[in-house]
Amino acid sequence: MKAAVIVFPGSNCDRDMAVALRAAGADVSMVWHKDTGLPEGIDLVAIPGGFSFGDYLRCGAIAARSPICGAVVKHAERGGYVLGVCNGFQVLCETGLLPGALMRNRGLTYICRTEPLIVGECDSAFTAEYTPGQTLMIPIAHHDGNYTVDDATGAELSDAGRIAFRYGANPNGSVRDIAGVLSANGRVLGMMPHPERAADPALGGTDGRALLAGLVGAMAAV
């Protein structure tokens, strides 16, 4: 399985993501934001956390208009897999690949701690290794993670099984406790919590490992 990790100025979880994906068995290449195309044969694009372009204008707004994002959108439209974590989730919402937007946390403070996440009732390669309703412990680290969608879209996401993860104790005010959302075809996932930071027993837990391993396994099986 071949994965590309996109690097923007201000990305700071790109290498963590690459390490975790390699540990899960992926062949990983780093791709710079000014590139206009992805390497040949990429199965998964990972958009990492950080503060791309200093969060100027809006979180993820400038990154979403960078040259590489045109290629990422095409990859997704062809049915390719995309994982956006934290700032990567913000970027995916700004590209329009995922609905909604991420606003300032309800309490206005930056939150960095491990939170319980509840796996949603959904059918996706990202959640295949988990059981719906299972509780995972995954770190969050964000200032703008307050997921907002209109009521109709929120209901649609819920009915269609597109809420991949919910917070067990909503830390940021997100609508319907949403922590992670899938595209309609289930192949694009955006989530605020960091599974790549919970993928090594030496670094505070391994609950995120199955997400990456499931993804690599699903694509190896194709």
Binding site: A61, R65, C93, E94, P99, M103, R104, L108, T148
Partner: protein
Amino acid sequence: MKARVYVMLKSGVLDPQGEAIRHALGTLGFDEVDGVRQGKVIDLDLADGTDPARIDEMCEKLLANTVIESYRVELL
């Protein structure tokens, strides 16, 4: 020519920063403040004769996130 773009959160979208400002004004004794909404002002320096439709396009494509924000353009 110059244009000024005002970007505000849509009504109905909760504005945690505006709410914090309202709270702080209340703490300072400005009890008459019932609500605060915070937005952005973006000034554009444009080539003379720029079609205003182009400015709308800039707002739609980048300056505002129309999922949560509305915008208004003022030609200066």
